[in-house]
Amino acid sequence: MTALALPARTRQPAWRQLLGFNVLTGIVLAIIGWLIGYWLGGRFVNIPSLQYYTVGTGPGQNDISVFLGYLLGVIGFLAGLGFFNYPIKRMLGHPPSLAEHESAGEGWIRYFTLCTEHKVVAMQYLVGIGVFFFIGGINAMLIRTELLQPNVHVFGANQYLTLVGMHGSMMMGMMTSGVLGPFANWVVPLMIGSRRMAFPRIESFTFWLLMAAGVVLMTTVFFGGFQTGWTGYEPLGDQGTAGFDAYIAFFTLVGISMCLLGLNVVVTIATMRAPGMTWSRLPIFVWACFATGVLMMLAAPMLAAALLLAALDRTVQTAFYIPGNGGSSYLWENLFWVFGHPEVYIVALPGFGIVLELAPVFCRKPLWGYRLAVAGMLGVGLFSFFVWQHHLFVSGMNADLRPFFMLSTELISLPTGFIFVCMMGTMWRGRINYAVPWLFCMAWAFNFLWGGISGVFLSDAPSDVTTHGSFFSMAHFHYTIMGGLIFAVFAAIYYWGPKMTGFKFNERLAKIHFWTLFVFFNTTFAPLFALGFLGMPRRVVTYPANLQGLNDWVSASAYCILGSMCVFLVNLIWSMVIKREPAEDNPWNSKSPEFQLPTPVPDYDYEKLPVFDDDPYPYGVEVAPAAATAGQGA
């Protein structure tokens, strides 16, 4: 029952490897499954005993067909990847086992299969999510293109709203796993000395399901897109074309993937720590993953349930979200935001973890206030379930509860503040090395500060009356998510990337990437606060002519962000393909266990299970207070 020790298979020729259970087979079966499902859906409508359920299926649009198509398509995809082989074996009574395609002898093909090696899955995640991040980013650029002029349309109003929805869904759906997918899967087992995640097959499943979800979302363009944005408010969604089915299917798959990913991380951390790795010795990044995992595990199912109701409304004629037929538009708002607000912290928390994890390494000091940081993360996680109605301050729902939600929302800034004070304390009298990962962390602190400060205006019910639903709130969450999470992800990419991939990044290009991204990020999103205050609502295809100057500035600046991202891509391709330099084992003099392993890290991670006997940040020198500042010179 170890995760290891599969004998390396003999190498087969490349073409032979294409046959079998891999992503190619998956795609073929996905298409077949889609066609079968679509056809079946057409048949269902004509079954008399189902007439109660299919009576409203209108001409020209059969949502049952579309959903069945997606369902069987995804099943086909997973079957092609081999996800059903093991469950079928289990049905036949074969004993549990964990390993699949783990051996390095299988070569590159294992990156395109169900592989249970945690570092392979992490790399799959990194690349897969990167692709969708790129697509989401391109959509953002197209949104800004449309907003260059107040009332001349580059794209149609339908397409514009679809762009907005695709951008939001892609970023909120796919990027939610942006840290737990690549970095937790890669780092957490190494940090806690476990060699693998608790459920390696589920680990792979979450990745492939997420990829299927991304593709499903993109197919919305074949069905007329969706006009609801990523929040999918009802009953607007109920009246949408079949493109909204793609949104539902997408977020349901994402929800399942998120839930299982979080579960896997939580269980791994809870039960598979090597000897000596007590809870109080867990690296702070592991704590962040733990808190995030709990939120994912519990919040994502709410989303899946809300979407199931929406799907039933659209297929079998239930009326959950249809007022006047027994439903309520508030039901969706409640269910969605009970998921949606933890979701926001699911996106933010891993960033906290990365920044605090890197702080000791680059400040050369132990983490300041470890317990406070842990309390901050768990506190944010706990509070995040009690704040959701601040999204609904002006909705008219439970207005008497506004003072409570105002209080709870403002209280959540306390644990967030812990993270800041821990970072600030760690920097104090440190010896700060401004390597690229740390630059991104510093930028994180700056951006997230503005994100948090602007959140005060949104959490205060009186001032929220003006800022709600305006560009102000849009700027706010871009400061916390893009300025927070994305900067932290880039810190992680530059920090762990060389270790994960085995090659060094070009540092000069990396610094250009950082400075351009930092500057243009702020020049893009800071004016959006002003636009919101000036009365520009979110998601509009047209706006008052007097706001054109600011909008053009924002668009130009957004293109510069694209340019900055291209610098990153060039750096990536340059360092990976053109001029490949092998990475050192420990470029940052980190004392974290993963950096004590050779690069590339062998498949078995640790030959012997590590034993931990110290806290995770054994940095710094014990010196008398007077001598502590010696060496700071001049």
């Binding site: 009246q239 037929n325 508030y330 003072p403 004070v421 090395n433």
Partner: protein, 277 residues
């Protein structure tokens, strides 16, 4: 340089910058804060925004200055040597103070927000049974805002239930908006009046506003409502009372035949057919 020195310098720098920034924001930036002086509620929001801005500026400046100070004072000139700082794992006094101060700020903000909110509702939608009604709310002029894809229409229960395509309001009057929708969720946002209330199908959402002097204000839909969401904007007008009275009488006469076909005034409407056609 001693450690005491660092503390004192940083703290002084933070305090001075924070005070300066707070004064600048409160006295230079805050007067221009939205949504302006178009109504009592709007003015109230400006006050709120000023308070929040002042506190935000103070806190943000302290943190930013601290970061800048630490970033410069403690930078390592020879990172390749990997020299290490002091092994300090925390300071319970500092942590306690941080917790104390931030909690104080947060509780003040929540308390202040609650007081302001309950005073006059701040122009926000507060559902069918508002608790934050301003004084004299029972005599307020009722205006029903009916949102539909993609247009607002306005219904006047105190003027024979007439419906109008544009919104004119009398000056210096307390208005009670009843916001509802006929299809999907919209949001009625009268920017200069500081009013925002979601329009939910089948539900009544009440928002109060005390108008001041005559002005033209922008009305936007602030909740994504489908295709023409971006085009769902128009102007509304606050006009002198006499002008308002003559306007609404004129509308009553003009739309008399169509008013007869309207359903009786209600806080929400459920026309049939409800289901898919």
């Amino acid at each position: 340089m001693s450690s005491v020195n660092h503390w004192r310098r940083c703290a002084t720098l933070c305090a001075v910058c924070a005070v300066v920034m707070t004064l600048i924001t409160v006295f230079l930036i805050a007067p221009g804060m939205p949504p302006g002086n178009g109504s009592a509620q709007a003015s109230g929001q400006v006050v709120d925004n000023t308070v929040l801005l002042g506190i935000s500026a103070f806190v943000a400046t302290v943190v930013v200055v601290y970061f800048l100070y630490a970033a410069f004072a403690f930078r390592e000139r020879q990172p390749e040597l990997a020299l290490e700082g002091p092994r300090v794992r925390g300071d319970s006094r500092v942590q306690a103070w941080w917790l104390f101060i931030t909690t104080g700020i947060v509780l003040f903000l929540a308390g202040y927000g609650t007081v302001r909110l309950l005073e006059d509702g701040s122009g926000g939608g507060q559902g069918p049974n508002p608790i934050a009604a301003p004084a004299g709310a029972s005599h307020a002029l009722q205006v029903q805002v009916i949102a539909q894809q993609w247009k607002f229409t306005y219904r006047w229960p105190s003027f024979g239930g007439v419906e109008t395509p544009v919104l004119e309001l009398p000056a210096n009057t307390l208005i009670e908006f009843h916001v509802t929708s006929l299809d999907v969720i919209h949001s009625f946002w009268a920017y200069q009046l500081g009013v925002k209330a979601d329009a939910n199908p089948g539900f009544d959402n009440i928002a109060y506003v005390q108008t001041k002097s005559p002005l033209t204000f922008n009305i936007h839909c602030a909740e994504l409502c489908g295709l023409w969401h971006g085009y769902m904007y128009e102007n509304g007008y606050v006009v002198p009372k006499g002008q308002f009275t003559s306007w609404i009488r004129q509308e009553e006469v003009r739309y008399a035949p169509i008013t007869k076909t309207l359903p009786p005034y209600s806080t929400s409407y459920f026309p049939s057919p409800q289901r898919r056609a």
